[in-house]
Symmetry: C2
Subunit: 426 residues, 2 copies
């Protein structure tokens, strides 16, 4: 049977043009993050299976790639009842859990606060669909050890700055706070262990509308009183009556400190933005993961409805592996693969401002080779890329091929290095 | 049971200083490769298990990390007799096999010849020992589609160039040719299927000497005539009597074309090197993998006995997955992790020529925040890194912490942006 040469399902091969663009985007984001004083760390691709499965991974846990035990540890002659008797490691499904482990393992040597960048692949065995990959790049910044809302302001600023440098226009950063959502749930009389379930439904508001919310909550057997209160609130919200400064009139028992923190974050961020982007309160922003504890954010642009970046504050996770310590933490992630898809659809190519030249030569003439090698070396040190290429029979085809890999000018070597002179390749 | 926060056995966490150095080295190597017209590609971390196991992977196959099947494909209720009923993917153990798959999958769209760079992690479940990791970076260039020995000259040049830019002095590139080794084996009357076994022994010459070679070959039951002929050759070689231009006197039936190719490679490379590095014929260089078909190389430096880079020509592998096509191929790999270890032992740090400044401020004073954010932004756009840091009680400790992440100057914000002025941090 012939072996398939396709990449593994849901993964991709990247050719030179793909890698150039990925490196270009990666470079812009990294430079921007670094200029705000964030520093990059890196963790291994595999983590212990216990660690992965003890996480608040939600549905990611069902999408784990698990790694088979090796050697004597793998006992195939004994009956197996659970998968986990067979495996010891798994591929990471995000970069937040590895960060928590990294922090626990290294915190004594780390600066405090710790402003960190992670850019790396994660793996999820998602059902295949357009734009969903099983290996994809995550691009996270995290600010550990500080509870001041100034952290949120900086994270919003640096993320909007990076996206602006990538030529995204009309950016809107939508901001909410988990504590406001929880106050709303309390206000509606939702039991504590049902808050998550209500928020999952609320998250669908823009897709299913208030009527859809009512149907879903009824199905979930929430009380009529609860559903009525939520409906009343959502109707007021849809009518534009609920703003940050009036929300306390609509939700009983809401914490004033939370509101003034959020107001500080939004107002200061907008003032810094100076109309390059907008920062808005959005009561319907929920975000999936249950581990958020405070402000949450998401970025969209006028051109693209889908989210380009998002995340929020999660004060209870980083300390998870440290005995009796809590570590305030807030993070923002840029959706690297989505950005790449958009830029590729726009026809963006990586910057190649340096010279990209090719010299075509005949390898039969060995006497001329040494002076040619030396001349190419001198040109290269002065001016970027100089690729020596053996002359092919079909010049037109060869030039087309060189153009594909970014060569912009060429020269046919006639044996005399002093005659090397480049013509544009077009 | 508390979950371990150590990285998986044989793998490492990289802190900001580690990542800076790794990125710095990676950048120098990439830039150098690119300047010769090589272009980067990338393949997924996982490959199909059939592909991995059909490779000439040698002992790497016993060190595979295999990935458990998921969902319905995994049948735990049925008796299992082999590991491979349980797995469908594996982590790549090198970048050559993925390159062969990539080429087969994409060759129609690729330029010919194809000069390619791969920098990526590979995984091997090696026994733990100092300097051996289970996840490590490989750093390969490959030149596909050209059989001219000028390819070897270019690969030697670009590799020595990259290592020189990384400040390695006294580099020696040792060169041999598989076909010469095979001629030697033929000359000694070794049967074709035993050539590999003789070469494995010969590879140990510098460790066990001629006497050790004799003992090992006797144990392997090679004929006395064969052992005598090999001993005679090695004695002449040790006495310095065997050079490229005299080797035909010592090995009957050696191909003159092979010798003149190798002479061309070595002489031209030395002339290009212009004494920055040396290129030498070394008859005892074997290299482990059986897939080489022509010239092989290895780089050492005066300071370090271990190999810094190596590989060679392998004309029979890239076409493996293409029906009835052979694709000439030659490659060179830099030992990235070894280089990193040496540079870290030397105390090399990543270049930070741009300004790395911190402004310490009091978050209590919200009125001053906006002008501070704007001033920091302006400074940042002009001059590199400007990190805003909340003032801590212990200034000395805070400054020490900032120094660790590369901050070189700082300022304590007094509320007046016009008074921001940086002092060196030392």
């Amino acid at each position: 049977m012939p072996v398939s040469t396709k990449p593994v399902k849901g993964t991709r091969d990247f050719d030179p043009a793909d890698v150039s663009l990925r490196e270009h985007v990666r470079g812009i984001i990294l430079e921007c993050y670094r200029s705000y004083g964030f520093n990059q760390i890196e963790t291994p691709v595999m983590e212990n299976i216990d660690l992965l499965e003890n996480a608040d991974g939600g549905e990611n846990l069902s999408m784990l790639f698990k790694v088979l035990k090796r050697g004597e540890k793998l006992k195939l002659d004994q009956p197996v009842t659970t998968e986990n008797e067979l495996v010891d490691y798994g591929l990471r499904f995000d970069l937040t859990l590895p960060l928590a482990r990294f922090y626990a393992n290294n915190h004594a040597q780390l600066p405090r606060p710790f402003k960190t960048i992670q850019m790396g692949y994660v793996w999820r065995a998602e059902r295949s669909q357009k734009g969903r990959y099983r290996q994809f790049m995550q691009c996270d910044i995290d600010y550990l050890g500080v509870s001041s809302p100034n952290v949120e302001i900086e994270l919003i600023q640096v993320t909007a700055d990076a996206l602006t440098q990538l030529d995204f226009k009309g950016l809107t950063v939508r901001v909410n706070d988990r504590r406001i959502l929880e106050s709303l749930a309390n206000h509606c009389g939702v039991a504590e262990d049902q808050v998550g379930s209500v928020l999952v439904t609320l998250d669908k508001l823009d897709k299913i509308g208030i009527d859809g919310i009512v149907v879903e909550l009824t199905k979930k057997q929430f009380s009529q009183n609860c559903i009525d209160k939520l409906t009343a609130f959502l109707q007021a919200y849809s009518a534009g009556d609920v703003q940050l400064d009036t929300i306390a009139n609509h939700i009983s028992g809401i914490d004033q400190t939370v509101l003034s923190e959020l107001t500080h974050i939004i107002n200061t961020s907008n003032a810094v933005a100076n109309e390059r982007y907008r920062v808005e309160f959005d009561m319907t922003l929920v975000r999936g993961m249950g581990y958020y504890t405070g402000p949450i954010f998401e970025v969209a642009s006028d051109e693209f409805s889908s989210s380009l970046a998002g995340r929020g504050r999660y004060n209870n996770m980083i300390g998870k592996f440290l005995k009796s310590t809590t570590v305030p933490a807030c993070g923002f992630s840029i959706g690297f693969e989505r950005i790449l898809t958009i830029l590729q659809e726009r026809g963006v190519q990586a910057d190649t401002s340096a010279r990209h030249a090719a010299i075509l030569y005949d390898p039969g003439n060995t006497d001329n080779l040494l002076p040619l090698l030396k001349a190419a070396d001198t040109l290269r040190k002065k001016a970027g890329v100089v690729s020596l290429e053996i002359k092919q029979k079909n010049l037109k085809q060869q030039l087309a091929s060189l153009k594909k890999v970014g060569i912009t000018e060429f020269c046919q070597f006639n044996g005399d290095v002093s005659a090397i002179s480049f013509k544009p390749l077009d």
